[in-house]
Each structure stands twice: as structure tokens, then as C-alpha cells.
């Protein structure tokens, strides 16, 4: 991509084109279109319940976007920047009641069979989703203007995924009323426009190697956040099962239960054993959370602890997730 006037770059800094190439490479490797959940969505392999869980939880992400954009606006000295960026808030919130991206998402929620009022009240948001989305707002809050804009550049990759998604819904999920797809249709044009503007801002603003590095890292972190959101949705819907080579046993010396795996053993604290005993492939992650919360007296943090634990056990190779069932 060539431009008439390239910004001046500092010593060891990448040229704007090289920076853009690296930003795009991050997207190619890490954008959540590659996440197994999205891939299954686009192949038509998700159950109705998985689609519903996703739509409900993804609304929490949508609801954080205007907050994030307001933080970005508050960092900008330049009125032209603020005018541009306020457009994004209006895209989400609408010019009046019943318009805008949030409203369109509630339309999607209704189309997939959810109660939109319950979705709007942010009921039953999974702890891992809540944390991922809050982490995005916190990332922007703690970053300078340039880095915050760089974190938003996942929009560069969003245009394509919207087209894929519209096709996938029309083809594989005919039970979803097509009026529900209005959000995706709106984003096919909004995302590329926003991304082009943001990209240009980053190309011009990131003139030192240090600033460029911060931009690259911010985009990576954002990709991780989107990824972990889907991880959490996936864990809730699929059915955790202890792998066949894992052994649960009591350890006399430690007075604790261990899960023993090849060349490693993990000590289980708290409700670890109770959780693993329920990981038999018959219950979904959400059902395990529900049962443990009931045992623990439904404390606010129980779901989150169970979700963290399942995630840790998956990474340690102690459990795998079997597909969701209708």
C-alpha cells in the first residue's frame, strides 16, 4: 500500500507498510475466526443451545464496546478524532431507542429463541466471558490513545467473518429468522470503514519502534481476549470428561486428592475432586458449574472457580471436552 506522504519514522522503527503487515499477520494467526467454536459455527455444527449461549454471552461483549469507545474518546485531544470516534458509539447505541448495534443484537437474541429482555439485563453471563470482556475495557483504560486504537484493529478482520457468518446462518441454521442477521449485515460495511480509519491512525501515530511494539502487543492481547471469550462459551456447552489415562487417587502424605497424569501429578484443593468426579462426559460444563454451585451454597464466585478449574485441567491434559448434545 503506498501513500503520497509517508509519516517520518524513528531509528529502528518499521515502515508503516511493515507495521501494517505485522498487524495483519497477527490477525491471520490469532483472530478468533480460527477458533474451533467459530469454525464449528460456520460449518453448521453448533447445537441450538450452543448458538443461544453464544448469542447471550456475546451480548455482554457488545455492551462493553460503547464503554470502551467512550474511554478512547476521553483520551483524545483532537476534536476531529473525537467526531470520528463518537460515530462508533452511535453505531452501537443508535441515535434513538430501538436503533443501533446493541438493539440489532437483541433482535438476533430473539431470533435464536432467547428472551431479549433477559439478555439485555445481562443475565447468566458466563464468568470467563465476563472476565474476558472486562479485561478489554481495562486494557483500553490503562493504555494510551494510540495503543487503544491499535487494540480495536481486530475490526480489520471482522468484515470477512461477517460474510462467512451470514452465509453459515442462512445455510445451516434455517431455524434462525433472517431478520436476526441484521447486525452482521450492518457490520459488513461498518467494520471495514472503522478499521481503515483506525489503521491509518496507527500507521501515522506509531513512529517509534517502542510505540509500534506496544501497538502489536495490544492487538495480540485483544485477539487473546476474543479467543478466551469463545473458550468460555465452548467450555460451558461441551461436556468435560476425565481422560482415560488420568487417575484420581488419595495421597496419604498430603491428605489430599491427586489427579495423576503422565509425568505429573496435580494436588486438588477445594472442590477439585467433586468437579472432576462430575467430568464424566454426561454433563455440560454449565451443568457441572450448576451442581458445584449448589454444593457450595451458590456463592457468587463458585461458577468462576469451576470455570477456571476446568480450564486449568484442560490445559494440564486431565480432561477433554466432548461435543455438546441437543
Amino acid at each position: 500500500m503506498s501513500r503520497v506522504a509517508e509519516p517520518v519514522v524513528g531509528p529502528d522503527a518499521l515502515t508503516p507498510d511493515a507495521l501494517e503487515a505485522q498487524l495483519r499477520a497477527i490477525g491471520e494467526q490469532r483472530y478468533h475466526d480460527r477458533h474451533p467454536f467459530n469454525q464449528r459455527m460456520h460449518e453448521g455444527a453448533l447445537t441450538r443451545h450452543e448458538i443461544q449461549t453464544w448469542a447471550r454471552n456475546r451480548y455482554y461483549y457488545q455492551s462493553r464496546i460503547p464503554l470502551k469507545d467512550s474511554l478512547i474518546v476521553s483520551k483524545a485531544d483532537d476534536p476531529a478524532f473525537r467526531r470520528e470516534w463518537l460515530q462508533r458509539i452511535q453505531d452501537h447505541d443508535g441515535a434513538r431507542e430501538g436503533e443501533g448495534g446493541l438493539s440489532l443484537w437483541l433482535q438476533l437474541a430473539q431470533a435464536v429463541g432467547l428472551d431479549p429482555a433477559s439478555v439485555e439485563r445481562l443475565e447468566d453471563i458466563l464468568p470467563g466471558v465476563r472476565r474476558a470482556c472486562d479485561a478489554y475495557v481495562e486494557l483500553v483504560e490503562a493504555s494510551d490513545l494510540l495503543t487503544s486504537v491499535a487494540a480495536s484493529l481486530t475490526e480489520l478482520f471482522a468484515g470477512d467473518i461477517m460474510h462467512t457468518r451470514i452465509d453459515a446462518f442462512e445455510q445451516h441454521y434455517p431455524w434462525v429468522d433472517t431478520s436476526g442477521l441484521a447486525y452482521f449485515r450492518a457490520r459488513t460495511t461498518q467494520a471495514p470503514r472503522d478499521a481503515a480509519w483506525g489503521l491509518d491512525f496507527v500507521r501515522r501515530g506509531a513512529t517509534s519502534r517502542d510505540a509500534q511494539q506496544r501497538c502489536l502487543e495490544a492487538l495480540e492481547r485483544k485477539c487473546k481476549i476474543l479467543w478466551s471469550l469463545l473458550d468460555a462459551v465452548e467450555r460451558a456447552g461441551r461436556r468435560p470428561a476425565l481422560v482415560s489415562h488420568a487417575v484420581l487417587r488419595f495421597d496419604e502424605a498430603e491428605s489430599a486428592w491427586l489427579v495423576v497424569l503422565p509425568e505429573r501429578a496435580l494436588k486438588l484443593g477445594g472442590s477439585g475432586r467433586a468437579i472432576l468426579e462430575r467430568c464424566d462426559g454426561s454433563r455440560s460444563g454449565a451443568e457441572v458449574m450448576g451442581e458445584i454451585a449448589a454444593l457450595a451454597g451458590a456463592s457468587e464466585s463458585a461458577d468462576r472457580e469451576v470455570d477456571d478449574f476446568l480450564h486449568a485441567m484442560e490445559r494440564a491434559g486431565a480432561i477433554c471436552f466432548e461435543p455438546a448434545r441437543e
Partner: protein, 363 residues
């Protein structure tokens, strides 16, 4: 200090092996050490290990499947409540026999490859084995056992790390251990031919990091060689601290080659209870804890992490087992390691393990 709880048992069932890798970590005089413990003796040792707190047992050698009673031995380990893990080179083990081992209680398998390419792998192993390894790897996964691949890296095969990663993916390994050669056993003898160049290591390290970033399996372990490190490894997780090694002749050791240290008195599980061998043998206590340490280890803040490194390496390079591991840049004997490193060269010949005529192979 009181003996700590051991978590792992390394059961060297035999030093016999059909492979002849020039970096074998078995003792140079392995042929003179016969298999002294029969299956019932191993079973009773496993029960004692379990009482001491051992959780995992690695059944290794030599080649453990060279023992005709391996099924009984695996059964004994499982009966004792241990988690049996087989460390094999893939021969003479067969898929049918592996199935029997699984029935006997085997939980996981580590399979070695010498290279990712058949000819190179067979050449380094000094015997035809690559095809048998592939068959066995598939059998491991068919049986639902988790598979770890292990490749010892050195000057001759470091270029093929990408192919090794591809092989591990193709074979559905849970983990790939890329372990740069260390100067133990036969590798010490063959170090001129085996030690890699710094450029080779850096390239391989970058490839491993890039593969990890792809975010798919297998788990990649890249063990740096001591010769290009500034700090020593926590050898065996500390001397007599976490792992019991029992040799084919019954000797109970803190590591695979401790018997070679001069004047060390280790005890034999065929003659005394395992607990005594672990807790009370003078040799087992010789380098336990920190009392024995000298400067600079004694006051080093990292001593709790690296336990002053490897005693055997200190002895073999510097002639003094109590000196700081020469792998540490702060060791008074550092120059001995640098000399060994600089002695490495391209096109050096190696001696295969166990070649009676010490046949040199021109490459």
C-alpha cells in the same frame, strides 16, 4: 537433613538394548552389569516405593522391552498403586505386546526417535528401527495411551527440528521432548562429534518458539544443552530429593550415573530395604541439602532452584564432585566446560555404544 519424600522412581530394568546410540546415558561398562532383580523383586520394590510416597514409575533401561517379564513388572507397578510409564526405543516391543502391557496396567508411553528421517534415524541408532518405531507410535494411539516422543538433539540432527515437530503432529503425540545432548555416559566420550554449534541451537530454538505460537499440539519441550547456558539445570530436581533411580543390578542411586563418582557408597535394593537405601545410604546423603556446598553455591540465591547443578558433570569435567557445576558461569571450574565445548568439531567420528571393536564410523 532428613530424607525428603520421593515422587518418582526410575526403574532401569536392564541395560540391554538393540540400539547403539552414541549418546546413550547408560554407563560405559553397562555390559558388566547384569539384571539382578526378577519380577517379584521389582514388585516388592514398587510396594516399598509407594510407601515412601512415590507416585510415578518410569520403566526404562536400556530397553525395558528386552525383558521377557515386562508384563509382570508392569502389573507389579500398577498393583502397588504407581502410575506406570514406559520409556522405550520401540524394539523389540511389538504392537501386540504393547496391548498386553496396557492390560497389565501401563498408563503412558515415551518413545524415542533418533531423527525424523528413516535413514538418519537408523544410522544414529546404529540399527534398523525407524519403521518399527512408527508402527509402535500408531499402536500407542490406537490403544488410547498418551504418547510422548523424545528426540536427543545434537550436531547431526539439529537441522531437522521442523520435521521432528511435523512427525510428532502426524503421530498425535501429546508432547515432544527435544533434548539437546548432555555429556553423560557415551555422549561424554563422543562429545566432539555431538556438541552442536551455537547457530544450530539458536535456529532450532527459534523454530520451536514459532511452532509454540501456532497454538496447536503437541506440547514442545526444548532442553538447552549445558554448554551454552549460563546457569546449571536443577539436575534430577536435586540430589536425593525427588527421584529414586534403581539400576538393573539393584543399586539405588540419586541419578543415572552416580555410581561412577569415586568413593561413593550407595546401597543395593537386593540387599537392603528400599527405605534404607533412600534415606540412609551415605552416598545418598553425600550431596543432599546444602551442607556440602562450597562457594559460590553456598551463598547463591539460586541454590534453592538449581541445587548447584550436576555432581557427575562437576566430577567428570573438573575432577571434583563438590565443586559448582561447570555449567554455571560462576563455577570456579567453568573453563573445563568451555574447553569441552570448544573441542567440538564438524566431521568428528563417533563410537557407537557397545561396539566391542570400538568401530569408528566415518561420516
Amino acid at each position: 537433613m532428613p530424607a525428603p519424600r520421593p515422587f518418582n522412581l526410575v526403574a532401569e530394568l536392564t541395560y540391554r538394548c538393540p540400539l547403539r546410540c552414541p549418546y546413550c546415558s547408560n554407563p560405559l561398562d553397562h555390559a558388566s552389569l547384569r539384571d539382578r532383580l526378577d519380577a517379584p523383586a521389582w514388585a516388592s520394590l514398587f510396594a516399598s516405593a509407594s510407601e515412601l510416597g512415590v507416585v510415578h514409575v518410569g520403566l526404562t533401561g536400556g530397553e525395558p522391552s528386552a525383558r521377557s517379564d515386562l508384563e509382570q513388572i508392569v502389573h507389579g507397578a500398577a498393583e502397588a498403586g504407581l502410575y506406570p510409564h514406559l520409556v522405550t526405543a520401540g524394539r523389540p516391543l511389538t504392537p501386540d505386546r504393547l496391548s498386553d502391557l496396557r492390560t497389565a496396567g501401563l498408563r503412558s508411553v515415551q518413545l524415542s526417535f533418533q531423527d525424523a528421517e528413516p535413514e538418519a534415524s537408523d544410522r544414529i541408532a546404529g540399527t534398523q528401527s525407524f519403521t518399527a518405531k512408527l508402527e509402535l507410535a500408531h499402536a500407542v494411539r490406537r490403544l488410547g495411551l498418551p504418547l510422548v516422543l523424545n528426540v536427543v538433539l545434537h550436531r547431526e540432527n539439529l537441522e531437522r527440528v521442523p520435521e521432528m515437530i511435523a512427525l510428532a503432529r502426524e503421530l498425535d503425540a501429546a508432547r515432544l521432548e527435544l533434548a539437546n545432548v548432555q555429556l553423560h555416559g557415551w555422549a561424554r566420550r563422543n562429545r566432539q562429534a555431538l556438541l552442536p554449534t551455537r547457530e544450530q541451537l539458536e535456529t532450532a530454538g527459534a523454530i520451536v518458539r514459532a511452532a509454540r505460537r501456532e497454538g496447536r499440539g503437541p506440547e514442545l519441550v526444548f532442553v538447552l544443552p549445558d554448554h551454552w547456558s549460563e546457569r546449571p539445570k536443577p539436575c534430577m530436581g536435586g540430589w536425593g530429593r525427588k527421584t529414586i533411580v534403581v539400576a538393573p543390578d539393584g543399586l539405588v542411586m540419586p541419578c543415572h550415573e552416580a555410581r561412577a563418582l569415586p568413593g561413593i557408597e550407595l546401597w543395593n535394593a537386593a540387599e537392603r530395604p528400599l527405605r534404607a537405601c533412600w534415606e540412609d545410604a551415605p552416598g545418598m546423603n553425600a550431596y543432599r541439602g546444602e551442607e556440602w556446598m562450597r562457594a559460590p553455591c553456598r551463598s547463591c540465591p539460586e541454590r534453592e532452584r538449581d541445587f548447584a547443578g550436576c555432581r557427575c558433570q562437576a566430577f567428570h569435567l573438573a575432577g571434583d564432585a563438590a565443586i559448582a557445576d561447570p555449567a554455571c558461569a560462576l563455577s570456579p571450574a567453568r573453563d573445563t566446560l568451555l574447553a569441552a565445548r570448544d573441542d567440538a568439531r564438524a566431521n568428528a567420528a563417533w563410537v557407537y555404544r557397545g561396539s566391542r571393536a570400538q568401530r569408528r564410523v566415518d561420516q
